[in-house]
Amino acid sequence: MSNTGSDSTADSKQAPKASGKFKWQQGDPLPLEINMKWCKACNICIALCPKQVFEPDRDGKPVQARPEDCTLCTICWVHCPDLAITSSYK
Amino acid sequence: MANKLLDKVEIPQDRYEMRFSGSGGQGMILATVMLAEAIGATDDRNVVQSQSYGPEARGGASKSDVVISANEIFYPKAMQLDFLLVMTQESMDKYYSDLKEGGILVVDTTLVTDIPTDNYYGLPFTRLAREEAGHIMVANVIALAAIAEITGIISKDALTAAVLKRAPKGTEEKNKKAIEIGFAEAAKLKKQKGS
């Protein structure tokens, strides 16, 4: 399964760094809106979040357990296959 | 003369028609295949199994029919159900009306809440699978065992052999446990219902 490339210039930046400015405070709306109807409990957001913001609920769907750690880094929503995550902060 | 013929005809009574219904991932087809194989290995009854897929290739509603008869089975699909297993509310809503009067209804009470009759056998197969058998995947086998107990359609030994034949390697123990749970819970239930 070797996939060797050839030619031309390279281009393979990883996900952009989190801005570091966002800081959720108790009482604020949660960082993310999660559309539970669309979410299929695939676990991707939970596993990829660099800050372990999520915990799975009984059905395996993400719950924002540690909203204060969220940096709005985009990783969870750009990886959600079901377009179930957005943020009103961004 | 309208409907004269239709009024007279009867669906043949030598057929025992069963439907297992639920959603895509619940293993309804596999359960009916196991049941059919168990019967095939045991006696001379004829068995036909067939299914239909939901609107999309994956997920959606799933139903699988088994017809059992001592005679040649002509029509392979159910005409009037003698038995119905429902594992989701959607399938309850869709298929309940196909059950004939006096037919047996078995319900997964974990997921089905709205049941249009009092005359049914209800057990929380999914919850039992998760909590007692250790994996949600064996809910179908628990149901199958319970059905065997309730209907007497197949012996425990024959069912166990058929389940183990089809179960993926490494899941034997879970499946054996599931069978135990199914038989036991159904026996309890039967007693409750006072048979």
Partner: protein, 282 residues
């Protein structure tokens, strides 16, 4: 055709591009990589500033090829393997439209292999996004032309006796002028490569390695979606680094990034110049 590249993008921009009336969720399995690609495609398109009316999204048949049904563009869900030929008709008839093709490894490279190499050869201005999950997802896990030798599938139950294509290599040899590869793990890179493919005039291929854990993952003991996606991360090597690696070192690796870009004439443009010449009586 406005092509001002947007810089800022809201997280909910994806919702603006869903087709009204078509119920989400998608048919895809939970965690299917194809959804991640759809997410990325929307973001890339949004950045181009193109209007939805200007965009045609064609596809063939396969899990991957279901994508255009969900998106609010002019959708052409065609027959298995033929999307690039249909798209060639659309583009050549109305060159002012932006034509994209979403296709799978089976769709593009098995039954559709001929249209694939000929679209590359013509260098027609189509942006082709190839969702390579190394298997036929839709029909339940048969081997595809990218299924690695010795991998399992339902039609290679004792392991695969065939060798596999490298789609990007084929595309370059056939004449494509923009060729890139990435994975669903590399969502931001994917977005950027697709955006640049859309901005490129000529045939662009963006191969995205996608996870079909339901079949490829299960049959080859590669685990669930998360495990497969993390595995893509582990196995990836940016093209810049790959250049200094030996063939052995690259064995089993996924080289990512822009692999090839060539400035050359585009088919519709050249044909238009022929038309102009003929009409001027030259």
């Amino acid at each position: 055709m406005a092509t001002a590249v947007k810089e800022k993008q809201k997280s909910n921009v994806v919702l603006d591009y869903l087709r009204p009336g078509k119920a989400m969720p998608t048919v895809w399995c939970a965690g299917c990589g194809h959804g991640i690609v759809m997410n990325g495609i929307i973001r890339a398109i949004d950045k181009t500033g193109l209007s939805k009316d200007e965009i045609v999204m064609a596809s063939g048949i396969g899990c991957s090829s279901r994508m255009p049904i969900y998106l609010d563009f002019n959708a052409l869900h065609t027959t298995h393997g033929r999307s690039l030929a249909f798209a060639t008709g659309v583009k050549f008839a109305r060159p002012e439209l932006k034509v994209m093709v979403v296709t799978g490894d089976g769709d593009a490279l098995a039954i559709g292999g001929n249209h694939f190499i000929h679209a590359c050869r013509r260098n027609i201005d189509i942006t082709c996004i190839l969702l390579n999950n190394y298997i036929y997802g839709m029909t339940g896990g048969q081997g595809s032309p990218t299924t690695p030798s010795q991998a399992f599938s339902t039609t290679t139950p004792y392991d695969n006796a065939e060798k596999h294509f490298e789609p990007t290599k084929l595309a370059i040899a056939a004449g494509a002028s923009y060729v890139a590869r990435t994975t669903v793990y590399h969502a931001p890179q994917m977005e950027k490569l697709i955006l640049n493919g859309l901005l490129h005039r000529g045939f662009s291929l963006i191969e995205v390695i996608s996870n079909c854990h339901t079949y490829f993952g299960r049959l080859n003991r590669q685990g669930d979606a998360v495990k497969m996606i993390n595995d893509f991360k582990e196995r990836s090597v940016p093209i810049a680094r790959a250049k200094s690696m030996s063939a052995e070192e690259l064995e089993g690796k996924i080289v990512t990034g822009l692999l090839h870009k060539k400035e050359t004439t585009e088919f519709c443009d050249v044909y238009q110049s022929v038309v102009d010449r003929v009409q001027k009586g030259m």
